[in-house]
């Protein structure tokens, strides 16, 4: 390829790039992007967001040390009460199939009371859940709970999530109820 041909090619690409940047800016500023939560992503955007999320969480969560006593009943009680107060509206509970949040949020909060395909081995799953609960997920309804809750409280919820799919509605009610201190 001659120098001249190469130059022409580079110039042409630069022009094309500029046009595309302008087109992108126009797309944004003309308000063409469908921002409504009731318009699903197209396949490419969905893949991109999901990959960004999963790769980011996997990298950030990989070094987290998982406590050895996640099966302690005290953790279930503490985590269960918190889950019921703070999470069940979005992530449901045994016997409840949908809420305004599961119907309306996009991405929809997964039903954590249902057994679903595990992400890797149990340790990876616990690390992943701890990280997501602590830090939340941008541009989804999932808040970061770290600012208001210490790590132990978050681990208690991770512990509870491990058993949540096994619980019947009655068991869930008993385990998650907050006993008033007078009952002690």
């Amino acid at each position: 390829m001659s120098i001249r041909k190469l130059l022409a090619c580079v110039r042409c690409l630069a022009v094309a790039g500029l046009v595309l940047i302008l087109a992108g800016a126009a797309y944004v500023y003309l308000g063409l992007y469908p921002i409504g939560a009731d318009t699903p992503h197209n396949a490419a955007t969905y893949w991109l967001l999901e990959s960004v999320r999963e790769r980011s969480v996997a990298r950030a969560a990989s070094g987290i040390a998982v406590p050895g006593d996640l099966d302690a009943s005290a953790r279930l009680l503490a985590g269960g009460a918190d889950y019921n107060d703070m999470c069940a509206g979005c992530h449901l509970e045994p016997g409840v199939k949908e809420s305004d949040f599961t119907l309306g949020l996009y991405p929809a909060p997964p039903n954590l009371a249902e057994a679903h395909d595990v992400h890797g081995d149990p340790e990876t799953r616990d690390q992943r859940r701890f990280w997501i609960i602590k830090h939340g997920i941008k541009a989804s309804g999932m808040p970061a709970w770290g600012p208001g809750h210490d790590d132990e409280r978050i681990w208690n919820m991770v512990a509870f999530l491990k058993r949540l799919p096994d619980l019947t509605p009655q068991q869930y009610q008993i385990v998650t109820a907050r006993k008033d201190s007078a009952a002690h």
Partner: protein, 101 residues
């Protein structure tokens, strides 16, 4: 070749602003507020299948912890009807008086 590049670029350049726009939308969903704390519904424990109750299971332990007082009174009032409950209740039954809280 240029045409093909332009197409790829077009996809990238329309996806990236879309991504940026979608990432910048802060979601402030009002949380469902906890309804006034409910007491554990310990009466339901008597309906549970005692065969599936394993005292070494942390879930079972957690439920017994939640229903300590109830199990005592249940051992007195329902003992003949439900032998599974009696096991748990009897540990405390010797303390006597079934105090309802």
């Amino acid at each position: 070749m240029q045409v093909r590049l332009r197409k790829t670029g077009a996809i990238a350049l329309s996806t990236i602003p879309a991504l940026l726009v979608s990432l910048s939308v802060a979601a402030h969903e009002p949380e469902k507020h906890a309804e006034g704390a409910k007491a554990p519904d310990c009466a339901a424990m008597k309906d549970m299948d005692s065969a599936t109750m394993d005292k070494d299971d942390p879930v079972m332990q957690a439920m017994m912890e939640q229903c300590k007082g109830h199990m005592e009174s249940m051992a007195h009032s329902k003992s003949s009807a439900d032998s599974g409950q009696r096991d748990h209740g009897n540990e405390k039954a010797s303390e006597g008086s079934a105090h309802d809280h």
